[in-house]
Assembly symmetry: C2
Homo-oligomer: 211 residues x 2
C-alpha cells in the first residue's frame, strides 16, 4: 500500500472545460514535484475550493460561468493576500489579463502554450516568481502607449457593441443624447476608429468587450 506523500506543489485547476482540466491534471500529476488537489468547473467553485485547500498555486481560466476570472482573483486575494494565481486564457488579446495582473495575479499563460511552458509557469508562480509569456509581455508594452478607457466609456462601449443608437444609450444610462455622443466621440478617438462599428471591432480585438 502506498503512503500518502505530500508533494511540494499543490495545485487547484479552475476551468469550465472538463477536457482542459483532464489535460492539465494529467500533465501536472506526471510531475514528481506537483499534484492537483482539486478541480473547479466555475468561478464560485474555484473560490470555495481555494478556501478549503489553500493550494500553493491556483491555475485559473479567465472565462468561466457564474463568475469570471477577474472577480475570482479579487476574492481569492481577499481571502489570502499572498495567494499565487496563474491566469490562463485562450485569447491573447484579452484586456482583462492586465486587470488580473495589476490586482496581484502572479502569472499569465495562453492555452495554446506547449507543455513545458505551462509546467515552468506553475513552478515559477509557486515560488512567488512572476511568470509572463513573451507574447503578453510584448502586448503590455504596446498597451502602455495606448490610452485607456474610463469606466463610463466602457459602459457606453458595451452598449455601442450591442448595436444601440446614441439615443438608446442615453436612455439606458439616464444621460442626454449629447453626452452619449461625447462619450462615443472619446471612444472613437482613443481607439483610433473612424466609425462606431470599427470601434467595436478594435475593442473586440483588444478584449475590451466580450460579445
Amino acid at each position: 500500500m502506498a503512503a500518502i506523500i505530500r508533494k511540494e506543489i499543490s495545485v487547484i485547476l479552475a476551468d469550465d472545460h472538463p477536457v482542459v482540466r483532464d489535460g492539465l491534471a494529467a500533465m501536472v500529476n506526471q510531475q514528481a514535484d506537483m499534484e492537483v488537489v482539486a478541480e473547479a468547473g466555475d468561478g464560485d467553485e474555484a473560490i470555495t475550493l481555494y478556501e478549503r485547500h489553500h493550494p500553493d498555486v491556483l491555475v485559473l481560466d479567465l472565462r468561466m460561468p457564474k463568475r469570471d476570472g477577474v472577480s475570482v482573483v479579487q476574492r481569492v486575494l481577499e481571502i489570502n493576500p499572498k495567494a499565487r494565481i496563474l491566469i490562463m486564457t485562450t485569447y491573447d488579446g484579452d484586456e482583462d489579463i492586465f486587470q488580473c495582473l495589476s490586482q496581484g495575479a502572479k502569472g499569465y499563460l495562453l492555452k495554446d502554450a506547449p507543455r513545458q511552458e505551462i509546467l515552468s509557469a506553475i513552478r515559477a508562480v509557486s515560488q512567488d516568481r512572476p511568470y509572463t509569456s513573451t507574447t503578453v509581455a510584448a502586448k503590455a508594452l504596446q498597451r502602455m502607449a495606448k490610452p485607456s478607457l474610463t469606466q463610463r466609456e466602457l459602459d457606453v462601449l458595451q452598449l455601442v457593441a450591442e448595436g444601440r443608437s446614441n439615443k438608446d444609450i442615453a436612455r439606458r444610462l439616464s444621460i442626454t443624447e449629447g453626452t452619449a455622443k461625447t462619450h462615443v466621440k472619446a471612444i472613437l478617438t482613443k481607439l483610433d476608429a473612424i466609425s462606431r462599428t470599427e470601434a467595436v471591432a478594435v475593442a473586440h480585438k483588444r478584449g475590451l468587450i466580450h460579445l
Copy 2:
C-alpha cells in the same frame, strides 16, 4: 513485454491546444476499445496524418491555425468519402458547424461537454452513426426558420464588421455605393437588426463572422 494490440477504434486528434489534446488523449487511451494513433496541432497536419493513418475517427477542432475545420472536412472527405469526422468547438453559436455537418461530418461536440458525452460521441461516430449534442440539434431547428445570407452578403458583412463605410466597401468589392447599400440593407433585414453595428453583434453571436 506487451504485445501490440490493435484496439477497435483508432482516433486522430486535431486541436491547436496541447492541453486539450492531452486531455482528450488521456480520456481516450483509458478506454479499452479505443486509442489515439496521432495528434495534429493544425489543419494541414490533420490532413497529412489522416492520409498516413486512416483512423476510424477524426476528432477535429473547428478553429485551427493554417486551415480551419471546414476546409479540413472538405479535403479529408475528398481523400476518403467514408471518413468519420467528429467536429469539436468551443462556441455553441458557430455557424460553421452546419457547413461541416452538411458536407458530411458525422458528429458535433462542444468542448465543455462532460467526459461521458465525448466518449459516447466518438463511439457513435466510429460506427457511422451520427451524433449531435442536444444543444446543437435545438439550434439547427431554430436556424431553419431564419433566412440565410448569400455569399455576397457575407462578403459585405465581413467588411461591415471591420468597420468599413459603404463607400469603402463599394471600392473594395468594385461595386457602386448604391449596391453596397442594397446588400447592407438585405443583411439588416435578414438579421433583424436596426443598425449595422447591431448586425455585427448578431452575426457574431451566430458565428457568421469571426472577428
